[in-house]
Symmetry: C2
Subunit: 279 residues, 2 copies
């Protein structure tokens, strides 16, 4: 792997470039993105050169798509006529089933292997990129068939994922999307709906000074951008609706169980789960 | 105010003792609590002496009840025959209406003024006490009538609350309980129910490595102890049920609105609210 092309050099794309260099990658990293993003990524040293899509893809051994989901879906069909047959295309999209299906339908010239590094931070953009962003984080890979992990470019990608300190985890695309509906999309919508519930109660809003440190933590995700989340909701609707439904049932049981022994049992299960997550 | 008696020297009670001393209080602080709690509070320097309830209350100018709610409700009636007529009784209970009502019914020998310092941390006990625990935090006071704030002992308490760096906020007991149902009890039950929802999904639980840093934050409160929360739920049931109902409606609208323009609007409201809370 000599030439890496990163399409979309925001926080994740630029951090991937920095992480590769930090881990000893000596090839060339090209960036394809908006002018301001490219300038920030060049200034940060995350890419070596800014190029138009066509030129950057023709030369690439690895193409890393780190755009918002909708943009990834738009980019994939454009890559096919440009790819070297030995190239590997991977991505960082937060939902995988639609992206993997799009690649299966439209990418015939080279291999595609879906990915989702479980990393991020509250701020965005290449200026915020860090070489250690993926250290200790899970990096999900979503092959359609196990053989996809055994090709030479896939093996090389996995070596680099490990080299930058991330932990590869293999999941089928559908299973990935169902898991993150519960572990990521549900917590996001709880924070969003907690904020809108509070915002709709003037008597409560007028007394926000009467809130403790717990509320700030519970609302941290309420600042998340719909620019990112709109695509996630649009491409994982059924799994998210299922997770919301399961949660609503549980919360209704909590409400209806106030004054009974039920809340004690719920706290016990939650305590054990929190303890397990900490380990 | 020469003699302060703190009943219940856990995190809050012992931190109050340390904070008073740190702010220049030169009187005597007596503690009433379990033997291990008293030993930890003495070792920490949060109290000067450990005494039985009767002796400690007879001598006190200020009695600070920092027990769990149910224990506060049990302690209040015992105080009446022991109190100096010039004494002030206050408390740190997380719900106020039942406590204030109990004091009105059973405390005739001296003044009661309900309180709720909006401070805490994830660890408990006198060994974790800090003189700065209340610095910059709201300290809600819940008089039944405004005149209660104007008595000499109440004015002196408010001076000390300010001296330890806290910010007094005045709310009627019922209004306090409704506000914290939304700002504190609702976020707690969301974290608890998120944990139990995830725990009930084996396929999701088996893939917890595929979760990002957001889940850890969303589940921080899931470790909270029912020993504390049982009393809160038992003494604020109707307001909590109302807050849960409002939240469930909002989350149902989110679920039913997936694929429409609704989520974008909800994110916009939530973003504005998060921004307002940050300021």
């Amino acid at each position: 792997m000599e030439n890496v092309t990163i399409i979309g050099v925001g926080l994740i794309g630029a951090s991937f470039g920095l992480a590769l260099k930090h881990a000893g990658f000596r090839g060339r990293i090209a960036g394809v993105s908006s002018r301001p993003a490219l300038e920030a990524a060049l200034a940060r040293g995350a890419i070596d050169t800014a190029q138009p899509l066509e030129e950057a893809v023709r030369a690439a051994d690895l193409i890393y798509l780190a755009q918002p989901i909708r943009r990834i879906l738009d980019t994939i069909p454009k890559l096919d006529p440009l790819l070297k047959p030995t190239a590997l295309v991977t991505d960082a999209g937060s939902t995988k089933a639609e992206i993997v299906a799009r690649a299966r339908e439209t990418l015939h010239g080279a291999q595609f292997l879906g990915g989702h590094p479980m990393a991020g931070k509250e701020t965005r953009g290449a200026a915020e990129a860090e070489p250690g962003l993926f250290t200790g984080r899970t990096w999900v890979l979503t092959p359609s068939a196990p053989g996809e992990l055994e090709t030479p470019p896939a093996r090389e990608l996995i070596r680099w994922i490990r080299a930058i300190g991330a932990v590869p985890v293999i999941l089928p695309p559908d299973k990935h999307d169902r898991v993150v509906a519960y572990t990521s999309h549900l917590p996001q919508l709880l924070a969003t709906s907690l904020a809108t519930t509070l915002a709709a109660e003037p008597a409560v809003c007028g007394c926000l000074e009467a809130s403790g440190p717990g509320l700030v933590g519970a609302l941290r995700l309420a600042a998340s951008s719909y620019e990112i989340w709109g695509d996630i909701l649009d491409t994982n609707g059924p799994a998210i609706a299922e997770a919301l439904g399961a949660f609503i049932s549980r919360l209704e049981e909590m409400r209806d169980g106030l004054g009974t022994a039920r809340p004690a049992r719920e706290f016990e299960i939650a305590n054990a789960f929190a303890e397990r997550l900490r380990r």
